[in-house]
Symmetry: C2
Subunit: 167 residues, 2 copies
């Protein structure tokens, strides 16, 4: 095993600066990531309100249900939407009030409730989804196909790292 000499004063200063430089760089990446997401989110949110008189959380919940025709429990929705159960209860309440989703009892577990799109909800979502996909395509059009693939890859790498670091 090789011994490592204690860093000189200059080396310590360099390490200090490097560390801070590295942190600043990470901050810049994070702020730009947040900025892009917020800009897109605000734009889609505005358009959803204007064109369909609905909101992004409602659209997202319906999108999850559209992918699961047999419905999802409140807990599954909570996990997939990455929000708390209390929140899912509230959004589901208003969607149910508007006749777009329905709560059904779960056969083998009376604690759980299955949420499912109603026919009206499914029809509305299909219309919204088609328009929404066009909006996203438009908003991302600043990137060509190779850039999109590269961005997708880098975000995947970031996401895998988050699972390890975050929780």
């Amino acid at each position: 095993m090789t011994t490592r000499p204690a860093p000189t004063s200059d080396e310590r200063i360099a390490q200090f600066h490097d560390e801070h430089e590295h942190e600043r760089e990470a901050l810049r990446v994070w702020l730009r990531l947040l900025s892009c997401t917020t800009l897109i989110e605000n734009e889609i949110s505005t358009r959803l309100r204007r064109e369909f008189a609905t909101t992004l959380p409602r659209f997202d919940l319906m999108a999850q249900l559209a992918r699961s025709p047999n419905g999802l429990t409140m807990g599954e929705l909570s996990q997939r939407l990455m929000v708390t159960g209390g929140n899912v209860t509230g959004v589901t309440d208003t969607l149910e009030r508007d006749g777009l989703v329905e709560r059904l009892p779960m056969p083998n577990d009376r604690r759980a409730r299955i949420v499912r799109l109603t026919p009206n909800g499914k029809a509305l979502f299909d219309r919204m989804a088609a328009v929404h996909a066009g909006w996203v395509e438009e908003l991302i059009s600043g990137l060509g196909e190779p850039e999109r693939r590269e961005l997708y890859r880098l975000l995947g790498q970031l996401k895998r790292g988050l699972g390890a670091a975050g929780g």
Copy 2:
């Protein structure tokens, strides 16, 4: 100018598929972007609550003020935080209540009010910012230095495109 023959039936189908494939690809990029941002945001939000009994909107507002020692007007804060004025009013209210920021009259325009960190607010923010930078560095550690630079570059390109498309 060369005339282009009408597309055959097969070509139309191919275009239709291509367009949808392109949209699906854009959607995948957007969903992953949103997912990464949400994961990081939730993690930082949880840590801010646990370690400093504060929230991300409060931290973000204080961060803007920390970069402008002379203070900012409510409108400037609204722009930089990309939220509505009404929201800035609310968050500023609670920060003021807690003695972390203060509202001052603007000398040449009595409509506007300047918001500034108090000494207490500045001291608290400095402590939080140092820890926060470490968290971001940790959360992004799944990416090496070249990947971070490439991600930063791609997000910059995306952001410029958003200015053109979104509004």
